[in-house]
Amino acid sequence: MTRNDLVIRVAGEAGEGIVSTGQLLTQAALRGGFHVLTYSQPPSEIKGGHAFYQIRLSADRSYSKGDSVDILLAFNQEAYDRNAAETKDDGLLVYDPSEVTPSADSHFVQVEFPLNDIAKNQLKFPIAKNVVAVGALAELFDLPTKHLDSLIEERWLRKGEAVVQKNLDALRAGIDYVIEHVPQRDNFALYPEKSHSGEIMVSGSEAIGLGAIAAGCSFMAGYPITPASDIKEFLEIHLPKTGGHALQAEDELAAIGMVLGASYAGSKAMTATSGPGFSLMIEMLGLAAMAELPCVIVDAQRAGPSTGMPTRHEQGDLYQAAFAGHGECPRIVLAPTSVRDCFYQTVNAFNLAEKYQTPVILLGDTLLNVRSESVPRPILNEVKVIDRLLFSENGNGRMNGEYNRYVLTENGVSPMSIPGQEGGQYIATGLEHNEEGLHRYDEATHTIMTQKRFRKLERAALEAPEADRFGDPEAEVGILTWGSTVGSVIEVIRQAEQEGLKLDMLAPRMLMPLADHEVRPFIESKRVIIIPEVNYVGQFANMITSQYPRDYVRINIFGGMPFRVDWLLEKIREEVAQYV
């Protein structure tokens, strides 16, 4: 029997090769044509402490991390103790008997694997322990060795032939041990190579960075914060290749300030942060809205409030993204629904920012930003990039013969100028202002200009990026959700279908403003609507209710973890039962 879905978890002490073991396997599986989706949990300690790296391999695309573990590789006793409960009863436990003693009543298929002994005594190369483990695991699920061979070559070539050979030997030792000692390993073998070859392996943070570059971003300022730092670090390295620049500011107030300066000066500019930093940017979010400066703010959400749990997951910043800012402060909020979508929604964020001259907030989260996944390689010449609408000397943006930065237009968008442009001088300001940009406090000006700024959002809603749809459009039960929870929901729907329960999902990618043409028909066509989200008050559910008053079923968790597919399905079953 072969399977088409396998979850492998490598667990042990942080910093002891957990991540490198996982990554080697991940890349080999990618090249092997599997779909790969990773999940890891950094330790709460500053260094050391327990950590794991999980890989889900599948023939078909998978959408969530996987509820439970098929193969657990436990490097030490703590790793066994902490992860045994999440391992399936018929799962496989691989462990070094010199480190781990499984409990007596364990149901697992157990493979004693003298990792340390092999590395130290057989290979005389103790640090190759991880490569031995990789060989063993790969053999368990039947990964062709060629991919591992070439990866090892690429990785250690710089250290010379001898090192490459030693690692190849280690790999072989792991493979051989499994062949010899685990005869019934069929149960863990995966379908042979499938159609995911040619995909790229990318994390959400990288996908955002790539999207930014593709969209024409030329400036990024950030300040380190988990789980957003990776975006800054990615762009610090790669943005200069296009002539752009990314830098570390002295704090988040400075980061957003720099972004607005860069935007004023003509650049497509962004920052990336997490909750605490985002909170510090709120005053200048208002400045961007008032001065109508395009900019993109990525908020990679983590569990809050305050410093909260920096390495844990939560969809807790939607309120903040949608409503923070003093006064009536228009902005657009996008939420990608998968790692792949991080790329596309980042492009959309820049396009919308430029087109509507307004701040755009992109809501990532710990799950999306940290996860690596194999995704189809985006086709770049299908990616549409929108540039700034500039005033022209004898067309756009003129009034009484002069350039007027905030000239009133039907859609609220006024042509911009860029410093250096002849006749384009104006003062960007957070004060209320007239069409010329001069500050004015009269009733008429404030009324008209407020309407102008919000008119842009009305238009933007009509052009919202298409919502994520999945499931049976005829189903009477609808699931309305957003962001990374989509992954769990898709798997719930798939599983429910096999049980005969029909479900339909709509996940708007633009959360503020909502695209009425998508949301209303969905809501009106369903008998029951369920809104699952990873937060306490039901932030999305409240937003939906205020715009589409009716009853909704809310499902909320808030423990710092994403939805388990089995748990969510069970909950939905219960809820649906009440309505039938």
Binding site: K241, G257, L260, G261, G420, G423
Partner: protein, 288 residues
């Protein structure tokens, strides 16, 4: 067939905006505005190639009264905005203008980092020891005990010394001006603009409406020009003069050459850059 282009030297009036200053009669900021016009005309900049950034305060309204590009930001954040502008347009002259509250209270953290980066801008702080726009509270440059209508109990903390602060954080051009010495002030600003790096000019600019102690007369009596033979390349002498409380010296205290923020940005780019899509394709390749 060749034509001779006569570059007409621009006049002060060429930099005036349509909007008339809203300052109180007698405000020191008028003098500073004129000095800015003069400095810009000295450089003969085309107004469309100049950007003036400010924070919030009476003084920070200055960009509205000019014909340059301008960004009237929020309170205390002129420095990061200026840095963002320079990162993108490293060749366009940027002036930053604002008040002492803006620079030394809410904005002082950014000031220090702008100085540290040696951001190539000229920053003129219009120092009146009070918050003018919010009606006269004491600012960080108010001497301990200075009482105003809004703060009748008087300032409780000693004043910040902006020059020492700038010197200690590595500022490469440190000067003090006075609104009622328009020629000297214009000259300092002209040189500050010409300076490659962060030019900091703390400028006494009295607020007759809310500060009845630090008046024009007060500063006229308290100030003195730096000695004629003063050597602005000597850091420790600069520190010494900057620490002086009586007299308060006017002029250029210190100037040095150091790599700038803009140098770093230029150096950080490869000689040949690629189109965005090419860079992304290459990264995709590496990720397969």
């Amino acid at each position: 067939m060749s034509s001779v282009v006569t570059v007409e030297k621009r006049k002060v009036n060429d930099y005036k905006g349509e909007e008339r200053p809203t300052w109180c009669p007698g405000c020191g900021d008028f003098g500073v505005l004129n000095a800015v016009f003069k400095a810009l005309s000295e450089h003969n900049f085309d107004p469309k190639n100049v950007i003036i950034v400010s924070g919030i305060g009476c003084s920070s309204r200055l960009p509205f009264f000019t014909d340059a590009y301008g960004f009237h930001t929020v309170h205390g954040r002129a420095m990061p905005v200026a840095a963002g502008i320079r990162a993108v347009q490293p060749d366009m002259p940027v002036l930053a203008m604002g008040g002492d509250g803006d620079a030394f209270a809410i904005g002082v953290g950014h000031l220090i980092h702008a100085i540290r980066r040696n951001l190539n801008i000229c920053y003129v702080v219009m120092d009146n020891a009070v918050y003018g726009l919010t009606k006269g509270q004491t600012s960080p440059t108010a001497e301990r005990g200075l009482a105003t209508k809004a703060t009748p109990q008087g300032a409780s903390d000693p004043a910040v010394n902006p020059l020492l602060l700038a010197l200690a954080t590595g500022c490469t051009f440190v000067a003090r001006g006075f609104s009622s010495k328009p020629k000297e002030l214009a000259d300092l600003i002209t040189r500050g603009i010409a300076h490659e790096g962060f030019a900091f000019i703390d400028t006494y600019s009295p607020c007759p409406t809310f500060n009845t102690v630090n008046t024009f007369k007060y500063y006229r009596d308290a100030t003195e020009d730096l000695p004629a033979d003063f050597d602005p390349s000597d850091f420790s002498t600069a520190l010494q003069y900057a620490a002086s409380e009586d007299p308060l010296y006017l002029g250029l205290y210190y100037q040095a050459e150091q790599p700038t923020f803009e140098d770093h940005i230029r150096n950080n780019k490869p000689e040949l850059t690629n189109s965005a899509m090419t860079v992304v394709e290459n990264l995709f390749d590496q990720m397969s």
